[in-house]
């Protein structure tokens, strides 16, 4: 009953045997099995040298500013320290386990758990607790914590924190390598291109709950094959299609990637539009302001860069629209997806308006991204209904390597090659 079992998300060693090596065929149980999912949390989100995105520096300008964020399924508090740095602590009281912080954003001088008022410094240290030394009644002392109670053993779980040009990352693994090494030299230049030396302005947030496995979103942004086929706007207006100048970049491990491309004039082009039902030959916008693209000096060519920083975040530049897309896994078959759109402090009012107009392309209602959420939902539905089965990611072969074009599924294979190694499957 293993196949069936796997298909139904129930575990068992047999259900998790990945036939053959290579990573061009992904078994459905990799998306549905709860035990696999728990191992993913443990190994990718809660340690083993992995870093997760938690915030943008610009969200927390002042000392004491905090926001609730998530690493995997764990609620964490990201707080700006007095010295301008950041602390990231798990949102769970060490006394009796209360997830004590409930206000999504605020400013705090200390964290007080409401249940018994245990109080923590912004860095997570236990600052004090009521009646630790008991209560004096006459000359006897009633109650109190044992003599050997050591507050240093009862601070909040502290995560390792690093920022990279305004991006705040955290890790449960104290031994995690420096962030730049984690990203690797193939990827960092593309982060630098957007963030280095720039002050960000937060434009706002969009949130969606997508009933699919979290990896499907990573796949989606490592999949240059689909945009010119699923998204009418991309193929019709030449924002992303196979006849553009493109590059697929990944780090040595194959876990992070950048899809880079340069728009063209769109319109008909046998090789990429013939028989493509999503291509709309005569389509034009009633209001061109939706796509009033203005080249920014820092682009240096590429009009779009889609950066996947495994396992937790996507950084997107699509013409004038900029955003981080944070993945919050919630069980094997669902994740929450948080978009934070931003601009730069020196943007003109026109540029800000432009970024906001182009934001209509993205997010849960976006002209070229609402349908990504839909196909992810329906992919999960397909895995769930099937018995044993596997996806086929063999465009451009079965190997893993960067490519100078977008007619490939190599980045997906790269991610699963890495996944198999870490998951030991």
């Amino acid at each position: 009953m293993n196949a069936l079992t796997a298909a139904n998300g129930v575990s068992g060693a047999a259900a998790r045997r990945w036939a053959g090596d290579g990573a061009s065929r992904i078994p459905f149980w990799a998306y549905t099995d709860p035990e696999i999912y728990r191992r993913e949390l443990e190994r990718f989100f809660y340690g083993r040298g992995h870093w997760c995105y938690v915030a943008l520096e610009a969200e927390l300008p002042n000392a004491g500013d905090y926001k609730l964020s998530r690493v995997g399924e764990r609620s964490v508090i990201v707080v700006r320290a007095r010295d301008g740095g950041f602390h990231v602590v798990e949102n769970r009281c060490t006394h009796r386990g209360v997830r004590f912080c409930q206000t999504p954003r605020g400013n705090a001088r200390a964290f007080v758990c409401p249940y018994h008022q245990w109080t923590y410094k912004l860095n997570g240290d236990l600052a004090g607790l009521p009646f630790r030394h008991g209560v004096k009644k006459g000359d006897e002392v009633q109650g109190g914590m044992p003599a050997d109670f050591d507050p240093r053993q009862h601070g909040l779980t502290k995560l390792k924190v690093e920022t990279y040009h305004g991006l705040v990352f955290a890790s449960f693994d104290p031994a995690a390598l420096p962030l730049a090494e984690y990203f690797g030299p193939a990827v960092t230049p593309w982060l630098d291109r957007i963030f280095k030396g720039r002050k960000l302005t937060i434009l706002g947030t969009n949130r969606q709950r997508i009933p699919g496995n979290w990896k499907l979103m990573m796949e989606n942004i490592k999949d240059p094959y689909h945009p010119g086929l699923l998204h009418t706007w991309f193929v019709t207006f030449g924002l992303w299609r196979a006849d553009q100048q493109s590059r697929m970049v990944m780090d040595d491990a194959g876990r992070h990637a950048v899809m880079i491309s340069q728009r063209n004039q769109g319109g008909e082009a046998k090789a990429v539009t013939e028989g493509v039902t999503s291509f709309k030959k005569d389509m034009t916008l009633h209001d061109p302001r939706l796509l009033d693209v203005v080249v920014e000096p820092w682009w240096n060519g590429p009009t779009v860069t889609m950066i996947t920083l495994f396992p937790s975040v996507i950084i997107q530049q699509q013409v004038n629209s900029l955003s981080t897309r944070h993945i919050l896994p919630a069980g094997p078959d669902s994740f929450d997806f948080v978009w934070t759109h931003f601009g730069f402090a020196d943007d003109s009012a026109e540029m800000t308006r432009r970024r906001l107009r182009q934001a209509n392309l993205f997010g849960p209602a976006g002209f070229v991204s609402a349908d990504d959420g839909e196909v992810i939902e329906f992919s999960q539905a397909g895995f769930r209904q099937a018995g044993a089965g596997e996806t086929v990611c063999e465009l451009d072969g079965r190997g893993v390597a960067p490519t100078p074009h977008m007619v490939t599924e190599t980045l997906i294979r790269g991610m699963y090659a890495y996944w198999r190694k870490v998951m030991e499957l």
Partner: protein, 164 residues
């Protein structure tokens, strides 16, 4: 003590706004998007805004359309370019509060609940919030100069395809 009677002009504005909202929900629920576009002024603003952005004064919306041209582009997206699983919408809208009415322009607000039903599944609470509106009178009819749909349901159930 009984107060001064309500001026008929007040009842009239109230009537028009409530009827407008009833018609608005009806045409969206029937998927009559051309009728929906026609309920806006040529030069209009339509936004679907997460309450957290609205409250924080952040400009980002989930949908932000300026002028009937963009409304048309959205409708084309719904009907021709955006792949999505189809669903029913059902609007239930409370009585509007008319906050200002200078005879030409009416400012008003109303709470709404939109329920989503996908084929073969149960009805869900999809999007609840408040319309913040500016109406203009044109040829004796109201048109939306501005409608902000400020919604509580910030965690959208995957995607938001049709207007709210």
């Amino acid at each position: 003590m009984r107060p001064a009677p309500i001026p008929l002009t007040v009842l009239e504005s109230q009537y028009r706004v409530d009827q407008f909202n009833a018609a608005y929900g009806d045409c969206l629920d029937r998927g009559d998007y051309d009728a929906w576009i026609a309920m806006f002024a040529e030069d209009c603003l339509y936004k679907v805004v997460p309450r957290e952005n609205f409250d924080a004064g952040l400009p980002l919306a989930t949908m932000a359309l300026e002028g009937q041209g963009m409304l048309k582009d959205r409708v084309y997206g719904i009907t021709n370019t955006l792949f999505h699983g189809p669903y029913y919408q059902r609007h239930v809208i409370g009585a509007a509060r008319v906050l200002a009415d200078d005879g030409a322009t009416i400012e008003a607000g109303a709470n709404y609940a939109v329920f989503r039903t996908k084929p073969g599944s149960v009805s869900e609470v999809y999007n609840v919030g408040r319309y913040l509106d500016v109406f203009v009178r044109q040829a004796g009819e109201l048109k939306l100069k501005q409608r902000l749909c400020v919604f509580d349901s910030e965690l959208i159930l995957n995607s938001l395809i049709y207007p709210i």
